[in-house]
């Protein structure tokens, strides 16, 4: 425990010493809803983190990480968020691509790609969703055709909701490589540079005015023969494994920023008199309760507990936090009263307005509420599966 406290102090001091000067402008920025804010400075911040060896701290030492335990990673996330650390531009590379490369990549692929992720110089985007493959992820239509001469893969199709593609260097793409295959069969996992002919990126303006998502169009774009992860046909397996790597360690950092949002709401309520309303007070207390419960749920999910209850209840985490956050957005606006509608140069209000708007996406991306409930019912309770349609 005291070692963990010493580690906490180390992170805290590092953040205090480095999130200053020009980087001070990044405090609390680049979170959900404004993932595209201050991109160049945030990329520079990634390199600052890298210099302190704070990128990829959970990776094994042999791949340049610190090999931190789960408990230490949680501490890092908490202290990073507590200090107001900005949204991580390198998140997809560090949390998703890196661990997947470590698990499935060839030595050559690891040698080529891991250092760029670790040093904060190469940024990754995730090419999963498509216009007709949202919740039904198996319905992927983007095609990859083998060029028999070069051995390269020629990719055509469209990905959508691709976070930060316009600010990234590489994208991993799940595409259909076997003619006539359906569902999870016949898919391939490709690593592709975004700066090439045949790749066209269109930012999508969101509900809050920002644009962190994109449509990415591929028109005979190319993935090198060496840039297939696993074997052709392994796409589904690798795509699913990638989603499993997160294990929710970053969620305790996310909860820290939820706590900051709640604190902000309380602060504003005390200033504008909303704290005199019994109904508002009860909603604030209810939000506080939900956040506490969420914290303990995350601590159960991250423990070694393999009991049936914990495995089943771990499935509820996404539903839990996204709906809590969505409700918090509404509460924030009710506390602000008519000011909620006025856009002004007030960072506190702006943060809550963005949260209010972007939280509507929380219950949609990464598996909608409805899909989450299907998963809980089917995988958690063993209830009958939804039948597939024929359209």
């Amino acid at each position: 425990m005291s070692e963990l406290n010493a580690f906490r102090t180390e992170v805290r001091e590092w953040m205090a010493g480095h999130l200053t000067g020009k980087f001070a402008a990044l405090k609390y920025r680049g979170g959900s809803g404004e993932g595209d804010a201050l991109p160049e400075l945030r990329k520079e911040w990634e390199r600052e983190l890298a210099a302190g060896r704070w990128t990829c701290p959970g990776w094994p030492a042999e791949h340049g990480g610190r090999g931190l335990s789960v408990a230490e990673q949680v501490v890092f996330q908490e202290e990073y968020s507590r200090a107001g650390g900005p949204g991580r531009m390198g998140h997809i590379g560090e949390g998703l691509m890196g661990p997947t490369l470590i698990a499935f990549g060839t030595e050559e692929q690891k040698r080529r790609f891991l250092p760029g992720i670790r040093s904060g110089t190469e940024f990754w985007a995730q090419g999963y969703s498509e216009p007709s493959a949202g919740s039904d992820f198996g319905n992927i239509k983007t095609r990859a055709k083998l060029d028999p001469i070069s051995g390269d893969w020629i990719v055509s199709g469209q990905k959508v909701w691709t976070s930060l593609a316009h600010l990234s260097d590489w994208i991993f793409v799940v595409a259909r490589c076997e003619e006539g295959s359906v569902g999870r069969n016949g898919l391939i996992f490709l690593l592709m540079p975004l700066a090439q002919p045949g790749v066209d990126i269109h930012p999508i303006k969101q509900i809050g005015g920002g644009a962190e998502f994109n449509s990415v169009f591929f028109d005979n774009a190319r993935a090198k023969a060496d840039d297939v992860l696993g074997q052709p046909g392994d796409g589904w397996k690798i795509a699913m494994a990638l989603l499993g790597f997160e294990r929710g360690i970053s969620t305790l950092g996310q909860q820290m920023s939820f706590q900051q949002e709640l604190d902000l709401i309380v602060e504003i309520a005390k200033e504008n008199g909303s704290d005199r309303s019994p109904a508002i007070r009860q909603r604030v207390a209810y939000a506080w309760t939900g956040l506490r419960a969420m914290r303990y749920l995350a601590m159960r999910v991250l423990s070694d507990d393999q009991s049936a209850e914990t495995r089943r209840e771990a499935l509820t985490y996404k539903y839990q936090w996204s709906n809590w956050h969505r409700d918090l957005g509404r509460l924030a606006m009710d506390v602000l009263k008519m000011d909620a509608n006025i856009v002004a140069d007030d960072p506190r209000r702006e943060r809550l307005q963005q949260m209010f708007l972007f939280a509507r996406a929380d219950t949609i991306y990464g598996g909608t509420n409805e899909i989450q409930l299907n998963i809980i019912a089917e995988q958690g309770l063993g209830m009958p599966r939804e039948p597939r349609g024929k359209l």
Partner: protein, 378 residues
């Protein structure tokens, strides 16, 4: 991280196995249909043979010296089976009060007997429906002939009929509060009340009697803090029990809908029904996490914070228990509101439990007072 120790896991599994066999629907109905105050055979096993009452009592008084988590585990499981035993009243209501407010002598005597499984106990709070049931006192104590004269009525005392001893907070002439322990033969009038939730008995207590000085068991008056300390455990135990009853209602429902066929398919295959069950799991996960997170915190530092978390757990558990019970009735369809099927037992317990120790508004007010740091609305 938050998980049970191997010992806690073992306690849980063994208790689950035992209750599955011994606190069946038939066993509950033997109590409910005959108007009995409790399941005497089950209570005998739990208290004397399995030693569950000894769990959180300190070793110096003959207990096992374990913590709030172990008690919460057992409360959850007795709740899941609606076990008709005075376990909550003895272990969560009375024992913590003896521990926080009792004299050394009283602890040796009463905690020792509870730990040994020889005593069921309860507390005659003036009004168990409010968040601070010790704020008002229904009984007056006047010094007389080297002892005390007790006068007063308490409208509802949980498990009073089965309790071997009832702890009575009473107001002295100087306005301070003393605690008396009355055994069955002390001369009190106990009037059993007919209850909707017949799985937990309630009786009225009337006192017009003189007791010896030895009946007074506090050291030098009982303060608000001592009551609060005891009530925190009562709330934790109740939240755990409510969580268990929620899981119980959900399990009964899942079993039924997996068998019930309409339109050529089990009704469990309808998405409308799957989603409602899944939503209950979401809320069970939330409530379970808070109950056991708070229980663990209680044993370590930050007890003030844990008490607020327990208040929050009561809010979640009360909302959820009722919803699980009403869903049990709804998803059972027509048979859901018959006496023959079990949902009504969970439904009645849900309403009765939510009314104990403060409604959700009172719990939320308490949390808000702390979050806003203003002591509450005046």
């Amino acid at each position: 991280m938050l998980e049970f120790t191997p010992d806690q896991q073992m306690i849980r599994e063994e208790a689950q196995r035992f209750l599955r066999g011994e606190s069946s629907s038939e066993a509950i109905r033997r109590v409910v249909d005959t108007g009995a105050s409790h399941d005497a055979a089950l209570w005998n096993s739990i208290s004397r043979e399995l030693g569950w009452c000894a769990m959180a009592i300190p070793e110096e008084f003959g207990g096992l010296g374990l913590g709030a988590t172990e008690v919460a585990i057992l409360m959850e499981l007795t709740g899941a089976r609606l076990a008709c035993v005075p376990f909550w009243s003895t272990v969560c209501l009375a024992a913590p009060l003896l521990q926080s407010a009792g004299s050394e002598e009283a602890k040796v005597k009463y905690l020792g007997a509870i730990a040994a499984g020889e005593m069921a106990a309860t507390v005659a709070y003036a009004d168990l429906s409010v968040a601070d049931p010790a704020a008002t006192v229904a009984v007056k104590a006047i010094r007389a002939d080297g002892g005390y004269r007790l006068d007063g009525k308490v409208a509802q005392v949980i498990d009073l009929e089965v309790a071997d001893v009832v702890l009575v907070p009473a107001e002295l002439e100087d306005g301070t509060t003393a605690l008396f322990a009355l055994t069955r033969d002390a001369g009190q009038t106990v009037t059993p009340l007919k209850v909707l939730d017949a799985t937990r008995s309630i009786a009225a207590l009337e006192l017009t009697l003189e007791v010896s000085a030895e009946s007074r068991i506090d050291d030098a008056g009982v303060g608000a803090e001592q009551f609060q300390q005891a009530l925190t455990l009562a709330n934790l135990g109740l939240a755990a029990e409510q969580l268990g009853a929620t899981q119980g209602a959900l399990d009964v429902t899942l079993a039924y809908i997996a068998e019930r066929v309409q339109f050529g398919r089990t009704i469990a295959s309808f998405q409308a029904i799957k989603h409602r069950c899944a939503k209950l799991v979401v809320d069970v996960a939330e409530t379970r996490s808070l109950v056991f997170g708070a229980a663990q915190g209680l044993g370590t530092s930050g007890a003030v914070e844990s008490a607020l978390e327990i208040a929050g757990a009561r809010v979640l558990a009360s909302d959820l228990q009722f919803r699980a019970a009403e869903e049990a009735i709804q998803l059972h369809g027509g048979v859901g509101f018959t006496w023959e099927y079990d949902p009504h037992l969970y439904f009645k317990r849900a309403q009765a439990s939510a009314a104990l120790l403060g409604a959700r508004e009172a719990q939320l007010d308490r949390i808000a007072a702390s979050v806003f740091g203003d002591g509450g609305l005046k």
